[in-house]
Symmetry: C2
Subunit: 205 residues, 2 copies
DNA sequence: CGCAGATTTGACCATTTGGTCAGTAGCGGG
DNA sequence: CCCGCTACTGACCAAATGGTCAAATCTGCG
């Protein structure tokens, strides 16, 4: 299962060889196909598990604390995920890029309501002047884009920065990125005193 | 060539069938292989052309105008590209996710110096207090992540928003995202009066 | 026209790959 | 020890696929 995630994420669905997955899992191909009916079935299981991981591990966005803090938490958790399971992240990315043929339905049935619900919180914050006016869904797209890029485009980032130790070198720099994200979304540290008074309070240096 | 880009971007290298590319190009497979020695050679050509498009079409980041304006231009151009050539964007993404086996060298030899050079501009802006202090390379990663997400994760965005007309529905919302990006990077509209005086001047509403 | 070289193409081939199957090994209970 | 059942596996197969090739067709030119 882990082996499958690794191989699929490295080669994509078509590029992955059942035999390679089996070898990586340390058992004969026939045995692998004894447990999982087919390559496609295995892929489906793996990708659904990844999506679950994504949705569950992220948990909620705290409503009770201030927006900046809440989003900072969420983003950091997301980055933590990407850092800890880069293969999962990449696998998910490939699936979506290919048009989400397998998890398209799940995205509609699970992710969509999730976004709709959390979006309500954003809306409230925006009404209270504690968050910039951005379509909540797009705020998520921004957050996801930025957090996933460190897992998905690792090769590019490595090439550009020449980081020798990706994990420590790169993720050390993400704090500033999280700041930028929070600032960009215009999140207030504390409840605003009045409507629209929002002054992008985060100090820059 | 266009056909190849389309098919490769839809299926990935391994998923793409030479025969399908040929059919999409409206000529027999044998003829396609007469022009391009092999599938791999064709892929290499296509992906290199995409990278060129990326690097060239983006052109420069204007130094003479104010930072906010300059980056806004750059980001808008990038979004325009993603919007106009989503297949190219996705193809590039898949290549990088797979570890950039083909264009890894190009990234180091072309993209890296490009970033280093443009990064100097960012550094200057930062020293002048006209931009938040973020490692310039990471500022680019942020920008790229956000702009590419609209092409690469189209399937996800569609699933979440339920947009019926992706092109117009979605790209209409990107203005707010560009704003957030500019705000997040702490870009000043006009030259700051003094060092470190930066107050994330962009008003939020 | 006639020829030489380039272009085009259907037929074909070697290899790879997902998946099957018949048979073997392990194992719990009687 | 044996029976029945599940887990496991090497050998095998049909289909798909990248690539080749020889023959056909086209094109420019003397």
């Amino acid at each position: 299962m882990l082996a499958a995630t690794r191989v699929f994420s490295r080669k994509g669905y078509d590029g992955a060889r059942v035999d390679e997955i089996a070898r990586e899992a340390g058992l004969p191909k026939a045995n692998l196909l004894y447990y999982f009916k087919s390559k496609k079935a295995l892929y489906r299981l793996v990708i659904e598990r990844v999506l679950d991981l994504w949705l569950n591990a992220l948990g909620d966005i705290a409503v009770d604390i201030n927006p900046a803090e809440a989003i900072r938490n969420y983003v950091n958790r997301k980055i933590h995920l990407s850092r800890h399971y880069p293969e999962a992240s990449r696998l998910f990315a490939m699936e979506v890029i290919a048009g989400a043929p397998v998890i398209g339905g799940h995205l509609v049935s699970h992710l969509r309501p999730w976004v709709a619900e959390k979006g309500q919180v954003f809306k409230r914050w925006q009404d209270e002047g504690r968050m910039a006016h951005i379509d909540p869904a797009h705020a998520f797209f921004m957050i996801w884009a930025v957090t996933q890029t460190y897992a998905d485009f690792e090769a590019q980032i490595k090439a550009v920065t020449g980081a020798s130790d990706y994990d420590s070198d790169i993720y050390a720099a993400t704090d500033a990125v999280v700041d930028a994200l929070v600032r960009g979304l215009g999140l207030a540290d504390a409840p605003a005193k009045g409507q629209k008074q929002n002054k992008a309070a985060v100090v820059i240096n």
